[in-house]
Symmetry: C2
Subunit: 875 residues, 2 copies
């Protein structure tokens, strides 16, 4: 006969697969002698057999349940269904992975019209009848699908009739009547009576748990979290203990360390004379756990809990989340599991546990999720505070910030420079809003996805951003936002939380988590394990400095175009674009040269000793031109040409699909003098730094190459400028030339391209756009639905699509290395800061990832995780 | 000693590689006993050795030339450099492939101050001195790089001084003076004397021919035509015969059949008392060859020429292009080669030659270039006429047409319907111009490439189109075109030639080539050889009818969206788009359903027995919305909503990159009711046709799939509608569901997609755009330069890019077939009508190509070529 039932005495934590997480931990606790009420687990295997079968529980299961119940009866000294001394049990689901959506808990199972009297005679009649009405209500809801509201309204009726306010004030006679009402409700809505046979209750409860594995919420949750559908759930049947047996009973939850800060010492809350569901109902406010210690009634239980917490923590070698009940001063443990924690707590606990000798450095590194590190670097909404949420957009760049609403970049700059805290609110942003973003505390947009301009630039600056918040109706004319029935004006403060996407009214208190030295300790350990290099995307000396302080070993992407938006440069840039001949164009470029050069000197100086990858001009030229009448007039005036001419040029440069237009190296091929100027700025800056004793490794990156000939031509320009600069200055520096791989054709023809390229940097933002045929600026209209409904497992602009984009990366890496075995391979898209994507880069054998400066810590940790994961697999 | 020199007696046509085309044919003619002046060929091998060496001719070459010259002297009875009876020779280049740009010809070599007197004494002094001055001029130009203009101005001086109009009126004394002047010019500009030593002349001429192999024009030509650079050229040295020896001498060219029409019988022209260059100079007008027959002096030579023409044609088994000279009534053959011919002639000659038993059907099929077939289906500019060309754009859709200029689609429709011939001129066209294009004779645009909207739609309609003619400055307000210093108004007629891209002023006469039955005969033979199926892209019953008449075996792409632009449908479409709920949307869709249904009934009826692939809605919805104020007001009025609401919707649907936006199956996923309506229209039409006895094979194609789940969802809708329709009607038809492969990700994940798809149709237009990251609407700004400068070998929107896009097709075909071995694979991009791309599809094992109806004949022939080419290679 197959074993469908495993007693808590027989299992262990290693049986998670068979017993589910909850059952395995109850068995483990039982095994190490902790006060766990006796019980048993019906296995996940039984669930699978039941779901695969014709609707009956597998053969032998009920017999085994009977036997196991007999064992509990023997241990407790009470009998299931006995009229004098009835055994009551709880039934709880417990799958391998914690999973909301399944049937959760039924308490007090075993009560019926007869046993309730037995319980009443042994304990307290009010308590007994309250237990019974709770059982009927819970059982009806989760087993018989009767809506709770029917029961709630029956309770309300009674309370109204008797003038009672709180549930626990209902007297016993009323509870008796209520039980009768409840049974009638069951009959009316379920078409059957509440079962009086305790074993029938138990069988029905087990079946209901099994069936709930396939309810919609559970299925959707599994889809979303990549949990296989064929695992099944276990059922835990455990003898009841009662935290509501009187003033010397209680129920509570505890963490073995503070889950917010990581501070050592148990932390939690408890409720006197209550069952678990009362805590959830929120009618009474639980008290902090520390007060248990100061209460003579519970002091012993507290110290016992503290002892058990230490024991469990060292047993599981991790911070635990515990459920307990005190029945008549005696402590019982009902659950233990690894405790959820904030990023700050995760780092502190991991580092502390290494110091305590509990875990190794490797384990400490693995214990902290890369995404948790991100929390540590940005202010967050005070978790104690419940703000008024107006709308939720995309969590585009983490951190919380408060400020007054501003709709215009110039005004943002003006007011920001004047010291005001402001939040720039735009339908969408463009490079022209850059100075406004710099001056703002945070950025909020109504359109655009996780890799929209606003999102990318904000992440680059480490500034909070909520993007694509479609619920905002922004009116630039009126300078208002209409949202959730309110009108927000320029006088109003709002707060945004870039980690969750929330947009909130007013000033919401934020806290600045401080990890400091502890985080650097952990990341230092991570660095010992990782193989991937981590660089940063940085466009200015300031960004480079930030990147280096976060541990970036080089710059993987320096976008030269952002430099052109600063100060007077945009004017020179526009002169260049409007030039009517190569001679005029060169004259304008000559003005830009010293500006670019000085930027590069600054960046090389900051990155002394590290490589710096600089991309030549990439965006289409129309991005640099003015679009408002006023700006166009100003420009015409400045250039002494007619407004019509400027308009004509603006119109002529307009593109149907700018993403696929005249940009990247196509510009450098149409206007070789632009590449020439940029190469000269980079290389002469490198020479100047080298002469000052700074170690420079410039890597010149040609963007948007589709064919090897494009790279060949651009490379020839760079090489020839290099020869000129070196012979003019008498100083030679080593530089390399490579390309972005950001078009499918570049990946497919990577062999030919590698003949010309010393490095490839995968520009996965654009590669995702072209591989999917998906504009990140327009995807907001349908991509969220795609992800919600599971058509795509995740937003491919956030987590690299391994089947499509990843396949191209593998093809390119293979073909590139076949031609040039020592070619350097990196990634510089937004994916460089996404843990799952970093793991992919590790597996694909790339040399480095490059991400926003503020994501460098995360990437360092993710790279270590990837390497350690592989080590563990290989073992 | 290596043999560098081959006498005409020793070679044959098979030695083309070694002797070049001209030399090999001269040897062949010599071998079959034709009157070829004796001579020899310096081999291509000698050229290669010379170019690889240090600047000297290979060892032994000059000795062999001496020996060969001795042989000629012996045969002619004259001696090279002899003062009394000098032998004169011509020197001509001749590579394996005919190649403009190389040094061509030097005549009369061997003349000097001494031999000229000998020639004068034997022939005529004026003739001799004219030959000498011609030699100096030609030699100086091609060997010594002296500009011709110096000599021309010396001739002009003499003529002016003496009051002479025509060159051949210059008397002998003046010619003598001219020779002195010419020699001075040589000394002054070449820094050396004209060489008096005939062997030095010969050596220098041979070296000059060799060196001209690497001059820029020749190199560029080879790059453009994929001719290897290491072939080298041969040099032909041949004893002179003189067509300018008097009134019984002549020179001429002849074709063995009419190269314009293919009519049998020799055809050509001749010039009495002239040398070849006179024909080229165009000073005197040559006379039709037939007049030779009627001229007693040349009658014998004519009949001899006729006999030789027949002989050569049956010898070479192809129509020949001949050069001949009559010297004192005696005919000499100077060249034979396969003759260039029009498409009409090519078809007629091929078919006639099969009837005559000269060539096999297979050879006949191979003799006609697919692109030549295209000419036969469209009117062309009368080749006799020299029009005034205003500008040249892209040859976007072949055919010539004349009409008055119209700038607005509505006006075009109005006037076109009224019977006026008009040409629609737009900066670029959009779907809203469709009705105007239908009414116009032809379409002309200033922007957009070979696959712009105008080009694609015009080709689909078989209507001439010149696209992307950037020289046109179109002013919609003024209703004028400014071009080439002229202003064209609405009163002006223009003519466009879509085969060459020419835009011409006024009415230019056109001719309608008639191939008819002959073409169908040839294509019937082609069908016997080809393996690829050929279908057409057709959106209406009319197009389907045309396609079928051209031999399409099915429709490979029926775009449902074009149907929505007709008549009132656009109104219903707009209602659908502006609907504020799924209920309203369904109501609008219900109006569209019967319209779509009746279209499909018409198309299925036309294509009885053949498969019809119908694509569900593809373009972004904003393409259907109005954009002018007036139209927006009309729509608001019609829908009884505010203008602001319409504007808001238009603005909301605007996209940054519509090509990568909310389109294709993304629409069907956002609005499943659209796919439902379309599936219902298709399947109920199929049922209706089946009930009428028509054989239907509907293939429903889901566009822009990036992930297999999208197809899964859309397919589920189609299948469920099919069940409904079949059970409602009691009739079941077989249908299949498949997808366009038009995104790189679809190609890469073709395995997963094939699990859901019964067919793949490669949408190579969009696949090219995404693989290259290149918008076809915007590529006009740089793609032409890319092609001109050789960065890309050809426009990838015209000829499929085999390295990138082709690689994705191979990957998709392989992965798709691995999962579903019988999956049907086709291509429906514009490349389906390009011969080279069709050959690629054949090699890649696709099942069919689909192209515009007017390209079907071309594709049938190209597919046969591809199959025969493979047969030949395999042999």
């Amino acid at each position: 006969m197959h074993q469908w039932v495993v007693s808590f005495d027989a299992g262990s934590a290693a049986d998670r697969e068979l017993l589910g997480g909850k059952g395995a931990n109850l068995a483990e606790m039982t095994g190490i002698g902790l006060p766990v009420p006796p019980g048993f687990t019906v296995t996940t295997e039984a669930c699978r057999a039941f779901l695969a079968g014709s609707g009956d529980l597998p053969e032998g299961l009920l017999d085994q349940v009977h036997t196991a119940m007999g064992e509990i009866e023997r241990r407790i000294g009470a009998t299931f269904g006995d009229g004098q001394n009835p055994l009551l049990v709880s039934v709880r689901s417990g799958a391998k992975f914690s999973m909301p959506g399944m049937m959760d808990t039924i308490l007090n199972l075993g009560l019926n019209d007869v046993t309730v009297e037995g319980l009443a005679s042994r304990a307290d009649p009010r308590f007994a009848w309250d237990c019974y009405r709770r059982l009927i209500q819970m059982f009806a809801k989760v087993v018989l699908n009767v809506e709770s509201e029917h029961f709630e309204s029956a309770i309300d009726d009674i309370k109204r009739k008797r003038g009672i306010i709180l549930d626990y004030e209902i007297p016993v006679d009323a509870l008796r009547l209520l039980v009768t009402d409840f049974k009638n409700i069951v009959r009316a809505h379920a078409g059957q009576d509440f079962p009086q046979d305790p074993y029938q209750q138990l069988r029905m409860a087990i079946e209901a748990v099994f069936l709930s594995w396939n309810n919609r919420r559970a299925v959707n949750y599994r889809i979303k979290n990549n949990i296989p559908h064929d695992l099944g759930t276990a059922v835990n049947v455990q003898s009841m203990v009662f935290g509501n047996l009187g003033p010397d009973s209680a129920t509570g939850v505890a963490f073995t360390r503070n889950p917010s800060t990581g501070e050592p010492g148990i932390f939690g809350e408890f409720l006197v004379n209550a069952q678990g569901e009362d805590v959830v109902a929120g009618v009474r406010t639980p008290r902090p756990l520390a007060e248990m210690r100061d209460d003579p009634t519970f002091r012993d239980a507290y110290f016992e809990l503290e002892r058990i917490a230490k024991l469990l923590e060292s047993h599981y070698r991790d911070m635990q989340d515990l459920e307990f009940t005190v029945q008549s001063r005696r402590l019982y443990m009902l659950q233990t599991r690894s405790g959820k924690r904030t990023g700050q707590a995760a780092v502190r606990i991991a580092v502390d546990m290494v110091a305590e000798g509990t875990v190794s450095r490797k384990e400490a590194v693995q214990r902290v999720e890369p995404s948790q590190v991100d929390q540590l670097l940005h202010p967050m909404i005070d978790p104690e505070y419940t703000p008024e949420v107006l709308a939720v957009g995309l969590p585009a760049s983490p951190g919380a910030a408060t400020g007054m609403v501003v709709f215009d970049a110039d005004e943002a700059k003006h007011r920001g420079d004047a010291g005001e805290r402001i939040i720039l609110v735009r339908i969408e942003t463009s490079p022209e809003d850059f100075h406004g973003m710099v001056a703002a505390q945070a950025v909020l947009t109504a359109r655009g996805g996780m890799t929209s301009h606003a999102a990318v630039v904000a992440r680059g600056m480490g500034k909070p951003c909520v993007a694509g918040c479609g619920a905002l109706d922004i009116d630039y004319q009126a300078e208002t936002i209409n949202v959730a029935g309110r009108t927000i004006t320029k006088q109003d403060y709002i707060t945004i939380d870039g980690a969750t996407g929330r947009v909130m009214l007013g000033e919401v208190p934020t806290i600045n988590p401080q990890a400091g030295g502890i985080l650097e300790t952990l990341l230092g350990w991570a660095d010992e394990f990782r193989q991937l290099g981590v660089r940063a995307n940085a466009d200015t000396p300031h960004d480079a400095n930030v990147a280096r302080s976060f541990g970036a070993a080089g710059i993987g992407l320096c976008r030269t175009e952002h430099m052109f938006f600063e100060g007077d440069r945009i004017q020179a840039m526009r002169e260049m674009i409007l030039a009517s001949s190569a001679v005029e164009r060169r004259a304008a470029l000559d003005k830009l040269l010293p500006m670019q050069r000085s930027d590069f000197v600054g960046i090389f100086t900051e990155m002394d000793g590290f490589p710096v990858t600089i991309r030549t001009l990439d965006p289409p030229l129309h991005e640099f031109l003015p679009h408002t009448d006023h700006e166009i007039e100003q420009l015409a005036d400045h250039l002494k040409i007619s407004v019509a001419q400027v308009r004509l040029k603006v119109a002529a440069l307009r593109e149907a699909n700018p993403m696929l237009g005249h940009r990247g190296c196509r510009l450098g091929i149409s206007y070789p003098e632009i590449t020439e100027m940029q190469a000269r700025a980079i290389l002469s800056a490198a020479v100047e730094c080298a002469q000052r004793g700074i170690t420079v490794h410039p890597e010149i990156m040609i963007p948007l190459v589709a064919d090897h000939k494009e790279l060949e031509l651009q490379r020839a320009i760079v090489d020839s400028v290099a020869q000129e600069v070196f012979s003019e200055s008498g100083t030679t520096v080593t530089y390399s030339v490579g390309t972005m791989i950001e078009l499918p054709r570049a990946a497919l023809t990577a062999g030919a391209i590698a003949a010309e390229a010393e490095f490839f940097s995968f520009g996965t933002n654009d590669l995702t756009q072209t591989t999917y045929g998906l504009s990140r600026d327009d995807a907001g209209r349908f991509l969220p639905y795609y992800v919600e409904s599971g058509i795509l497992p995740r937003d491919p602009f956030v987590t690299l699509d391994q089947d499509g984009v990843g396949e191209l990366i593998r093809i390119a890496a293979e073909r590139g290395r076949a031609v040039r075995p020592d070619i350097k391979l990196g990634i510089c898209g937004e994916h460089g800061g996404d843990p799952e994507s970093v793991a992919f880069c590790h597996r694909s054998g790339l040399d480095y990832v490059s991400c926003s400066p503020y994501r460098v810590p995360l990437a360092r940790l993710a790279a270590a995780h990837a390497a350690l994961g592989e080590m563990d697999r290989d073992r």
